[in-house]
Amino acid sequence: MVDWQVIIKEHGPVVWQTAYRLLGNHADAADCFQETFVSALEFCRRQRVRNFPALLTRLATARAIDQLRRRFRRSRPETNSANWVALQSTNPSPAESMQQKELTDGLRKSLSKLPPQEAQAFCLRYLNDMSYREIANELDIKTNAAGVLLHRARAKLRESFELSVKEYK
């Protein structure tokens, strides 16, 4: 029997950081947080979990990407829901803040256009610093396949990223 309160207490911050980093605002991150743990509960009903942090990180990434996809499908302007307080606290100048915001939003938009598995592999590798083997374990694929996914994701992002940034402008 899994004690979810303990799980949330131990691994909640990691899930929150993963969700918030990808979504960039409080409301979406909170939704993603809930969805992640509900997904984890459903996963636990099907299989035994050997590595909760990795599972929760993957689920949070997957849910966050789903949300990103929904968000950009609706084409809702993000400036309304952006956390301007956080931006002001991190960046020294408004111009740099704006530039960083453009970059991160462009990357989010590009990620939302990737196939889900590639986007997950990319986020787990570059945002959560997971190894190829860990990614392969979490996505239930071989290590080589994880490498292929990452290569494809990076290539697609490279192609579409600049365009995405321009469109966002």
Binding site: Y20, A30, F33, V38, T90, L103, T104, L107
Partner: protein, 237 residues
């Protein structure tokens, strides 16, 4: 292309370093726990253990299926190979006739090889033993030869020393004899010389006396005074 790569790296870096407010907030945690409780309360059609067992069984069955398929293929291939390459029902007499000379030859070859091997080993062992014995004999003979030659050399040296001593003695005696001879010769010569001197002195004296007489006689004959002659005679006296 490279610019895009740099931009992508920058974007990754920016997203990674984006300031995230500490969390999760308490209200989100509470909501999540409530939602989890609701979801956990919903009936599940299949229990976890059964589901896990079925999944594990399916996984095992998947790998077992592969192994079974591989085994069936292997058996079929082996059977086909054996069937195709196998001989007709054998004729025992023919097989025996065919195999006997070969087996005999093999046996002979093996025996020959074994004997050759044994002989080679014996040859090497005997060779080593003989070499050892020869070396020992050679050492013993050499030691004996050296000892004998030492004895002979010592005898010869002794004889040589003795002959040297004898020769020295003879030489010494010869020298002594020569010295004696020289001394006796000296004495003889001295005596002869003395006698000769005495004889010479006597003859000289006689001659002198006679000369003096002749002179006196001559003077007496040539000078009128008798005194001169007497003076000469007195002076002689």
């Amino acid at each position: 292309m490279e610019e895009n790569e740099n931009t992508l790296d920058k974007a990754i870096e920016a997203l990674k370093n984006e300031q995230i407010p500490p969390g999760p907030p308490q209200e989100v945690v509470k909501t999540t726990i409530t939602k989890l409780a609701e979801t956990a309360g919903q009936p599940d059609t299949v229990k976890l253990d059964n589901r896990i067992r079925i999944i594990e069984w399916l996984k095992a069955a998947k790998s077992l299926t592969k192994i079974a398929a591989a085994a069936v293929l292997l058996i079929a291939a082996g059977y086909a190979t054996g069937r195709l390459s196998g001989p007709q029902p054998p004729d025992m007499a023919q097989i025996q006739a065919a195999l006997e000379p070969k087996i005999r030859q093999n046996l002979l070859d093996e025996t020959k090889q074994y004997m050759q091997l044994g002989l080679a080993k014996s040859y090497i062992r005997i060779k080593d033993e003989l070499s050892q014995q020869y070396r020992e004999d050679l050492n013993r003979v050499a030691l004996q030869s050296v000892a004998a030659s030492n004895a002979v050399t010592n005898d010869l040296l002794t004889e040589l020393i003795e002959s040297f001593n004898e020769a020295q003695n003879q030489e010494r005696q010869r020298i002594v004899a020569a010295l004696d001879q020289i001394e006796s010769n000296q004495l003889h010569d001295r005596n002869q010389f003395g006698n000769a001197l005495a004889t010479l002195a006597l003859q000289t004296e006689d001659e002198f006396i006679r000369t003096k007489q002749d002179m006196a006689h001559f003077l007496s004959n040539t000078q009128p005074g008798q005194s001169n002659q007497d003076e000469i005679i007195n002076s002689e006296n």
